[in-house]
């Protein structure tokens, strides 16, 4: 079962000699963009432009005498834009709001406040009927292909469903389109009348991707698409996604928690913590000069499969637990666990801002009062194991 995917896509990749050992590309290798398609030029309006998005979920807790109405602050004032043809990464730990943001951008949740402009149209306030017709342009792929595919539908029906819903093409041609999509994602055409349970996790994720591609979308939200897959299969799916992006000019929002995967896939990365974006930067900057203490602690926690490096590391240890999203703290939300927090951090909410620092590019933002000190390397609590510039 060889993975023949995407004929012709190799042209945009930098050719590498398959016999040479992979060049160790340190985060400090400046300006390395090899292997990436440059984001599509010519239209400066971002495909997605979300402004001050707030997503609050009401919850009620019943105690002995009273019913408490409370609100989970899943997203609080999040602004993010996605350029055409790029992959924006969204990282953070459980409960940080990354999946919620993905769903808001995919039009599955209506935010409680803020705007979400998709190609100039605000989908946050768009009437349901108009949203439905726009929906074919943004699709979503979920983490668990065991849960996201209806077990009673054949592969053909699953992939073709979107075509029927959005009335794309004449019905008699949909079979041909399904076959084409199966080729595109590396499924064999003769598997068209099989059911999801006959496929492995990786193959199911290919079905989910074909299903998302069917209505010819501009944007695909990928919510942890490889987290439930084995390493060798993970790499196959990631490669497929990169090839599809080259071939079809897709824009991706990739949600994940593995910084190594995100770094290999994304042009820009946003780091989230407790309903907020705490740092957003070009990949090169974030992997070369991360400035938020939380970003640094995420890097510090990522295990590296090299015993010599791994055993010499000095990890940043975070104490305490993530505060409750029902009562988020005043000031910086990370302050209660931050190894370098000062009084100001607990009182004053830091805004996302540009910080001129070595390794940073224009447009890179961080929400930390101490970003300059972090950059200066004078904070011993962050004296990290990885070598930042």
């Amino acid at each position: 079962m060889t993975e023949q995917i995407a004929p012709g896509s190799g042209a945009q990749n930098s050719p590498t000699d398959p016999t040479a050992p992979t060049a160790p590309t340190a985060p400090s290798a400046a300006g390395r963009l090899g292997g990436f398609a440059a984001p599509v030029a010519g239209n400066d309006v971002p495909l997605v432009d979300a402004r001050d998005v707030q997503m609050h979920f009401p919850v009620s807790r019943t105690t002995l005498l009273r019913n408490h109405r409370e609100v989970v602050h899943a997203l609080d004032g999040v602004s993010v834009s996605i350029r055409r043809g790029e992959t924006l990464g969204l990282v953070g730990e459980t409960g940080c709001g990354k999946s919620t943001l993905g769903r808001v951008i995919a039009g599955l949740y209506r935010p409680t406040a803020g705007q979400v402009r998709f190609d100039g149209v605000d989908i946050a306030t768009l009437p349901q009927r108009e949203l439905r017709s726009l929906r074919q342009r943004f699709q979503i792929v979920f983490q668990d292909p065991f849960l996201s595919l209806n077990p009673r539908m054949t592969v053909g029906a699953l992939i073709g469903e979107g075509l029927a819903i959005h009335h794309i093409g004449p019905p008699e041609q949909r079979g041909a389109r399904v076959a084409e999509l199966m080729d595109l994602v590396g499924l064999r055409r003769e598997q068209v009348s099989r059911y999801p349970h006959e496929f492995s996790g990786g193959q199911r994720q290919r079905i989910a991707i074909a299903r998302a591609l069917a209505p010819n979308p501009d944007l695909i939200v990928l919510d942890e698409p490889v987290s439930s897959l084995d390493v060798s299969i993970q790499a196959q799916i990631l490669r497929l996604l990169v090839d599809l992006q080259h071939q079809l000019g897709l824009t991706y929002l990739l949600i994940g928690h593995d910084l190594a995967v995100i770094g290999n896939m994304c042009h820009r990365v946003a780091v989230m913590y407790l309903g907020r974006i705490v740092e957003m930067a070009e990949r090169e900057s974030l992997y070369r000069a991360p400035l938020h203490p939380y970003t640094r602690s995420l890097f510090s926690a990522a295990p590296i499969p090299d015993p010599t490096i791994e055993r010499a590391r000095r990890r940043i240890v975070l104490h305490g637990e993530v505060p409750s999203p029902i009562h988020p703290p005043a000031g910086c939300r990370f302050a209660s666990r931050c190894p370098v927090a000062i009084d100001r951090c607990r009182a004053e909410d830091p805004l996302l801002r540009e910080v001129a620092a070595p390794g940073r590019l224009p447009g890179d933002q961080v929400a930390c009062h101490r970003a300059e000190d972090v950059s200066g390397g004078t904070l011993s609590a962050l004296g990290s194991d990885l070598r930042w510039s």
Binding site: E3, P15, P18, Q234, G263, P303, D306
Partner: protein, 353 residues
């Protein structure tokens, strides 16, 4: 860690016999579609204070191996052959009642998902005191004090109040710490950690791994660490067993495995792990194909259909781990020609698609 080192010393005293000696272990699951040969002819031994990592992808047989040692295979599973010696005595010859005394007391288990392992109706303290009563005969004040000591030893802040907490009142990381406290409560000679951090966030994962490493070092426990994450292996293991399709395909001291892997599967696996310190934008090494169906065991090497180095004998003759008795063994007919061939020839590069 506040426990006195002498109180944490394990029960195994004899340093010459291995704590665990698994010989030719085979185990199968019987399903409607037939016999799934989950573990095939697996052998390894483990000394006191040593951490062995069992590495492999889903279905490789690593958990089934561990569950065979605990004699806790699900009802569809059965040990089909081999021998398991624990402190020199056969575990397969034990009755179920005898095994109940060994589990939790001499062999501790840290499971993958602490939420599924703790009783939601019992407090952390009740879990611990029950275990201490059953295995060590501790009751009342003594059991309570010891439980609080254990909670403190696994890094739970305010152990007195957490003693009274129910599982749902604890975070995932705290629940896993409670599981670790349960696993080490009787100072077991062998600790089995089955993907102990897979359900946890990365910053919590780092803390839990550190805790397991510290405790097994202090108690001088033999530890089996089951994981699919080679980064965790690099940090924690002394020796590594790589499993594929129910078999052990490579067995090596940790540094040798990473620096000089002999089996093409190991080489491929090391290549396809993305690394946070080596970003290669848009490029992914893969192992083509998929793991085999364990219902149909073909003759020859199970990895051969995916292997770039496969030759005729690979398809017909089963390779065994060689050289015998060596520290570093691999089950591959072509391992000698593989040595020095350049690792990236195995994983196919992303640009060749």
């Amino acid at each position: 860690m506040t426990l006195q080192a002498d109180r944490l010393t394990t029960q195994a005293s004899d340093t010459t016999t291995p704590v665990l000696d698994v010989r030719g272990l085979s185990a199968s699951f019987f399903t409607r579609r037939g016999e799934v040969r989950a573990v095939r002819d697996v052998s390894f031994s483990l000394r006191q204070g040593e951490t062995l990592a069992l590495v492999g992808e889903s279905g490789s047989g690593k958990t089934a191996t561990a569950m065979s040692i605990l004699r806790m295979l699900p009802t569809s599973g059965e040990i089909r052959g081999g021998e398991i010696l624990f402190n020199g005595e056969s575990l397969l010859a034990r009755t179920e009642r005898q095994m109940e005394k060994i589990r939790g007391r001499q062999i501790g288990l840290i499971p993958q998902d602490p939420s599924a392992s703790l009783n939601p109706l019992m407090t952390a303290g009740e879990h611990l005191t029950e275990l201490l009563a059953v295995h060590l005969g501790l009751h009342g004040r003594a059991a309570r004090d010891r439980s609080i000591e254990l909670l403190e030893a696994v890094g739970i802040p305010e152990p007195e109040s957490r003693f009274r907490a129910y599982p749902h009142q604890l975070s995932g990381g705290m629940r896993q710490r409670v599981m670790i406290a349960l696993a080490i409560a009787c100072r077991p000679a062998l600790l089995i950690a089955d993907e102990p951090t897979t359900a946890l966030d990365s910053t919590v994962q780092a803390q839990i791994l550190e805790l397991i490493a510290t405790l097994s070092r202090e108690m001088n426990t033999a530890t089996i660490l089951i994981t699919h994450n080679l980064g965790i292996v690099a940090g924690l293991a002394d020796r590594v067993a790589v499993m594929y399709a129910g078999r052990m395909v490579e067995f090596a001291p940790r540094n040798e495995l990473f620096e000089d892997p002999h089996h093409p599967y190991t080489v491929g696996l090391l290549e396809c792990v993305p690394r946070v310190d080596r970003i290669t934008p848009g490029e992914f090494q893969t192992i083509p194909g998929q793991p085999p169906d364990l219902l149909r065991v073909e003759p020859g090497c199970s990895f051969a259909p995916r292997c770039a180095f496969a030759t005729d004998p690979c398809l017909t003759e089963l390779p065994v781990l060689t050289p015998e008795e060596a520290d570093h063994r691999a089950a591959c007919w072509n391992q000698r020609s593989l040595a020095g061939a350049g690792s990236s020839a195995v994983g196919s590069s992303s640009t060749t698609a």
